[in-house]
Amino acid sequence: EAGVAQSPRYKIIEKRQSVAFWCNPISGHATLYWYQQILGQGPKLLIQFQNNGVVDDSQLPKDRFSAERLKGVDSTLKIQPAKLEDSAVYLCASSPSGRREQFFGPGTRLTVL
């Protein structure tokens, strides 16, 4: 079974630029999560999708972050414009419907200069 795929693995941008991350969850997993992990901290949930609907986006900075999961499969997370404090690893995870075990992708390491 293929795992959660994320791209790109690394991204370096300058502040005020835009960036987008892509996630392909495990086939059949209805729930998809985006996390932000700042160096030295645990992951922080940004947004949770159930199929293509948003379940929780309470910690998503909506003035600059957006996410979508149009067909209930792949998802993209966008930052526009980026700030220095957005430097972090962005993790995508998925889980089967009704189960709490989350399967994580390798993450995208974003550096904002």
Binding site: P43, K44, L45, L91, R100, E101, G105
Partner: protein
């Protein structure tokens, strides 16, 4: 918002030693999970504990959920260099709505 604390923040030990790391909260959790994260990778689930007082063993790893479901511990017997990584606890609050991670314990096992 539930808060999970983990201790110690860093731990460096020699191969073959035993260790225990802790996860604590002032709030009740319906379940707690332990993950291990290696550099450049996402976290990988080790175990889920659900019942207060529950003990689960995974080879040399022993996980315990506190009776009041506010704390958990992970004990590693005869640590190996392959145990090196960031150990994260995470859980759903008692309403099953909010999922949060602790800050992690970074373990280094030296040969």
């Amino acid at each position: 918002t539930q808060l999970l604390e983990q201790s110690p923040q860093f731990l460096s030990i020699q191969e073959g030693e035993n260790l225990t790391v802790y996860c604590n909260s002032s709030s009740v959790f319906s379940s707690l999970q332990w993950y291990r994260q290696e550099p450049g990778e996402g976290p990988v689930l080790l175990v889920t504990v659900v019942t207060g007082g529950e003990v689960k063993k995974l080879k040399r790893l022993t996980f315990q959920f506190g009776d009041a479901r506010k704390d958990s511990s992970l004990h590693i017997t005869a640590a190996q260099t392959g145990d090196t990584g960031l150990y994260l606890c995470a859980g759903f609050d008692n309403y099953g709505q909010n999922f949060v991670f602790g800050p992690g314990t970074r373990l280094s096992v030296l040969p």
